[in-house]
Symmetry: C5
Subunit: 354 residues, 5 copies
Amino acid sequence: MARFINRLSKTAGQIPGELIHVGEQKAGKVAISVIDYDEKNFQEKQSSAVEETFCFKETATVTWINVNGLHDLEIIEKIGKNFGMHPLTLEDIVNTGQRPKYEDFQTYIFVVIKMLMFDDLLKEVVSEQVSFILGSNFVISFQEKEGDVFNPVRERIRKAKGRIRELGADYLAYSLLDAVVDNYFFILEKIGDKIEVMEEDLIVNPQPQTLQAIHNLKRDVIFLRKSVWPLREVAASLERGESKLIKKATRIFFRDVYDHTIQVVETIETYRDMVSGMLDIYLSSLSNRMNEIMKVLTIFAAIFIPLTFMAGIYGMNFDFMPELHWKGGYFYLLGLMAVVGFGLFFYFKRKKWI
Amino acid sequence: MARFINRLSKTAGQIPGELIHVGEQKAGKVAISVIDYDEKNFQEKQSSAVEETFCFKETATVTWINVNGLHDLEIIEKIGKNFGMHPLTLEDIVNTGQRPKYEDFQTYIFVVIKMLMFDDLLKEVVSEQVSFILGSNFVISFQEKEGDVFNPVRERIRKAKGRIRELGADYLAYSLLDAVVDNYFFILEKIGDKIEVMEEDLIVNPQPQTLQAIHNLKRDVIFLRKSVWPLREVAASLERGESKLIKKATRIFFRDVYDHTIQVVETIETYRDMVSGMLDIYLSSLSNRMNEIMKVLTIFAAIFIPLTFMAGIYGMNFDFMPELHWKGGYFYLLGLMAVVGFGLFFYFKRKKWI
Amino acid sequence: MARFINRLSKTAGQIPGELIHVGEQKAGKVAISVIDYDEKNFQEKQSSAVEETFCFKETATVTWINVNGLHDLEIIEKIGKNFGMHPLTLEDIVNTGQRPKYEDFQTYIFVVIKMLMFDDLLKEVVSEQVSFILGSNFVISFQEKEGDVFNPVRERIRKAKGRIRELGADYLAYSLLDAVVDNYFFILEKIGDKIEVMEEDLIVNPQPQTLQAIHNLKRDVIFLRKSVWPLREVAASLERGESKLIKKATRIFFRDVYDHTIQVVETIETYRDMVSGMLDIYLSSLSNRMNEIMKVLTIFAAIFIPLTFMAGIYGMNFDFMPELHWKGGYFYLLGLMAVVGFGLFFYFKRKKWI
Amino acid sequence: MARFINRLSKTAGQIPGELIHVGEQKAGKVAISVIDYDEKNFQEKQSSAVEETFCFKETATVTWINVNGLHDLEIIEKIGKNFGMHPLTLEDIVNTGQRPKYEDFQTYIFVVIKMLMFDDLLKEVVSEQVSFILGSNFVISFQEKEGDVFNPVRERIRKAKGRIRELGADYLAYSLLDAVVDNYFFILEKIGDKIEVMEEDLIVNPQPQTLQAIHNLKRDVIFLRKSVWPLREVAASLERGESKLIKKATRIFFRDVYDHTIQVVETIETYRDMVSGMLDIYLSSLSNRMNEIMKVLTIFAAIFIPLTFMAGIYGMNFDFMPELHWKGGYFYLLGLMAVVGFGLFFYFKRKKWI
Amino acid sequence: MARFINRLSKTAGQIPGELIHVGEQKAGKVAISVIDYDEKNFQEKQSSAVEETFCFKETATVTWINVNGLHDLEIIEKIGKNFGMHPLTLEDIVNTGQRPKYEDFQTYIFVVIKMLMFDDLLKEVVSEQVSFILGSNFVISFQEKEGDVFNPVRERIRKAKGRIRELGADYLAYSLLDAVVDNYFFILEKIGDKIEVMEEDLIVNPQPQTLQAIHNLKRDVIFLRKSVWPLREVAASLERGESKLIKKATRIFFRDVYDHTIQVVETIETYRDMVSGMLDIYLSSLSNRMNEIMKVLTIFAAIFIPLTFMAGIYGMNFDFMPELHWKGGYFYLLGLMAVVGFGLFFYFKRKKWI
């Protein structure tokens, strides 16, 4: 549940533009890294002081400033001031309960998305908010904590693989966004595997606890859907490229991201269909098994009930009951009981009740 | 139920523009408060007579007139007349069964929204209609009764926190709207907590009375949805800012409100999904438990039925039943019964029926 | 069922524009009433001959001609001819199986809506088709039979209450439409009350016959929805006011009608949700109760089955059964039975099965 | 099932524009009838040779050529060539698996619709594809076989009823389309009657075989929906009248067809709702009845089980059982059994279990 | 499951435009075939080296280059370079997890679709990705492996059947697309047949394993839907013909493809409806049968229970039980038992419980 609502109310009543960090409070230092490059040069450093990054604002090179940790509001504010960000943008960066969104502030584009990871301990999908500021020659990314999916991008910049060093800040923004969306496929696979395993179990061996598992799966899918669904609009906005900050040649790459997003969304919808189907299958399957058991037991009882009645008859104490005095009457009765018992058994068998 | 329909029919047959107060009739005085400010000056007072507020219409300062209580129709009419409001606007203000709406009357903007509160006594969400009139330099707000969510806004004006004192009436309107929408997050959390608690109960310990609780929860969510859903259009209209009364710089703030509204709506939709899922889970869970009980009892019976039959056999009074005269025949039979009983027990066990 | 389909096929195969009255054939005279007014003058009369109304076509005053009864096709045709109505309009007026619609014929606007009434005898909602012709200075309304919701409007015209006498034919049309829509709220309340009563019954005391009642309620709601849903478009068309026949100042009143219509539609949707929820609740509730009964009875049996078995043991006739000859063996056994019986009872109790 | 898919694959792999007749192959002659008229003249004939119809292409009179039977591809091709039809149009005419569609080929309008009939033998709705070619002064209609719903139109032309003889080919096309759509109402009524009958049965007397009947009904409704749904677009396209072939005055008649189509579609949707509701009702109703039976039987057993136990007690053979030797002990016990039996009976009664 | 997700994550983290073949890796040579034609000439050959195809780029004739096998990335890259394809296009060609899409790159149109085949061994629908590059005078098609549905098209080109030799590359692209879409109808028929067979089984003879079969069918339909749904947009984009590469005369043929696609999609939706209906029918049917069995057995027990009780009565050992000493008491009792037994039987019969 916490995943769905915990950050909602903390900012209520706040002054618009006032920064209140929403999320797990973290002590420790905020880690700021800077990668600065053009076609020929490349420079990478960890900044201890936020002010060191300011000089990159005006350079002709492409600069990627990555901020890990949102709890030091002073740093965020300084960056915001230097790079000309609107107070509402800063508010959205630190309030990690945002839904994915795209906002065009003329001088920069502000994009919020969710980076999803599969927590192997909790066995559930967790999400982290990542915000991007795309300026004319810089990208600033804000993450809640260390650990991200951007290492392949860093590697490509460092080693000048592909065309990333030749292209501008908009292509860098695309690369980062692409890395996040590509990562969704891993998550989808994890969940797909879970669904596959569970589906087989469902029919072969339905367990009462499966109910809980299906329910958890359903919530994972709802959570995923909520995180990814608004991304469609974000990707579409970027693809349309109404901002001058996105060059025409880059738009085709954003279209690629858009295509991937659609694919993710469609797969999630398919999962939703499957998971709701699973509950039906589970219930039918369980009810089938239960019915089988009850039927067998009832038939069992139905065979013995008339036999017990027959034994009851000859347990009566009437003075005059001729059969009791027949020689072999007892054995005749046992024989009759066998006939009745097997007769009923085969009757039920033939009716396909057993 | 009352929450959904009670105010519908009271105004039927009325003359359009005729004021009929719909809602809980309240005696007592209507409380009117005025806050008047510009960047440098600030003035706050409780008006006993409505006429005292009229002077603020023409001043250059920003004025916020708040009216608590809608039952004194004369006051509403006087305000309407002085501030140039359309008769239909006045009708909508006092008829508290409105759905949230935005209407642009050129000289003023009329906004109706629902302020939601969680009634700790009734344990349910209650709503109060709040109407705003946004003029060029004033905001008039109408509430059904005392008690609102605007104190942080008042505090900000008094202490000149943030930029509220520097900006105009449109920013004041935004601040009030924002306060109402932010408050929804509290309500969502309350309901989210309820859902969380109930979900755990559902699987661990399903109770017949849970049905009623799920049903109530579902109605809370339907009620919430009905109150908030039309707000999307209201916020979108304000964001588009087609009226000259909303300055361009303020539109970005209304976009923020719009984003929050979307977030509220999406969370409500997620809750809806969850609550309908809960009924399924509840039923399956209950039926699982019931089935378990019935199965155990049926197996219990199935073991004793053949044993009773065996006892019945040797209770018969045939003259010639050799086993009866065997020495130890009784004990042989008891042994046989034990074998049959345990045999069945282990058979059922192996079949995983127990 | 009749409410949904009975009028569908009667006009099939007819010549377009040919008048065929569809509905309950009524003998008797068609009642025509005329109300003619301007700001100062007022005149009201019952016309015995339709020709008497023709003179009002050219006068400067606003005229409202109301026709009760559609079975006298000659009268309808005469009116149509005199007031310049298209043959298809006349066809639609007498064919009472229309869905609500708005048609702009340049010289007049044609509106069909459904007037709903709650039939206290049948205990169901019945509908009557009302058609309006709005010309430049007249409104002609056609009803299926006597009895309508327009008396408050008549009263207002007679007593010059509100502004109705000052405004034109478009305002009169609005007033009539408004009266019909306002009446929907009464119907909604009736149904809302029914739902409320039934919901309480559902959980407290589910009855097999409740099924029928829910089903009827569902059909009432479907019927309502079908009657009101297309009205949204009608009201929206009027509000947009593309026709010159609707003055700009009147459009705001039609917007009010539109708002009410949306409110009605939303309430119907809420009812739909509730009623479908009720079936689920009903079924769960019934099944809960049934399960409770079955469980108690099964436990009842489960306690007596081993006891009967024990009695069976000592009813056997073996020659050598030592317990039979013990002094007090009978009482020991009774004691043992009590122990087993209560033991099982408390065991089941502790497992929360009882 | 055949109704849904049988014609799908036969044309796969064909050359576009190549004519392959899909449908029940029919030997025998294709029947071609021609009706040619203007305001004053009227001529009707059965053509044995298709070439006889060609002369009507250039005349000023309105001509309706009706072709019954699509299996003689040579005839279709000749007509197509003479009247300037596109190869794809011819392909669509003979491939009777089309969905209703409207295509504007500048020189002619091509409309495909489904003519529905209720087959009294199969007790199900069958459909026949009808294609119309509307040229400037002719309409060519193609039907799969003899028997149609156009006789009222023929009658009107022959007898010059209504305005059909005065108006052009577009009005003729409207008349034919209108005849087909009007016929849907008959089908709707047939199905509506079935639903009504079944609904009563459902609650009063649910039968296992009802399941099959509901299922068939559901498929009839799905079939109907599939045939009629695309007709909305067809009618809307005709109403918008973008083609010069449709005169402005005729558009209002197509609007009438559009209205009827909407009405048909809405009624189908209502039926869908009702039929899916019926399955729920049926299942609840059946389960209610079953539960009643099981409950009564279980109670029956629950009363006799303790009584049998009591009889078992006094069937035991202990040496010392004082009650056995009491004078009247037998009658006391019978009395006790009666008390216990009736006691349980009234207990269950009071608990409302019986 | 594999069908839904297996190719998702392999390309994550890749450099945009870098080629990574996703799909079943295949050794062996890639087969390249070339068909080159104009109205008079025709030439067909298998190319061993990809370079042989390059000469066709500039010729005036229409050229169709078909590549079977995507695992040799070098070949793909060479083709891409020679024919001026964008890196993202090449990436999409080899990544076979694409959803159907249409992209207009000015100098060429890129279309990805799914070719569906029914695998007779796996008894399920399998899909293969086919990409088309439509240039001004060439079409390049890429397939995952040998075996396709294009033989009728090849035949038509070879034998100059229809107009294919007279028309350009856009008509060739249409022919190929049409062949793929036409093939869907075969798949639909296969599934339709399965549904038909299963529906009959469902009601006549519901089996527990049917559940699995319905579930598989449902997944086939979901899979189909996912493959075909986006094709609507593809066909619509081609029909609108915004690219200069598609001549106006060819657009009408793409409209035909669009119509077929809609028909496929609608049939899939109908199947979906039917398959979900089947689960309901199956469950009801199974539960009906189960209930019948349980009812009969319970009635069986209900008849014997009182009889056994009566036998128990006269098995008691009271000293004074007058009936025991009656002459014929035993036979009277047997008679009474018969009366009670048959009485109950007929009572249940009359109540229609049996």
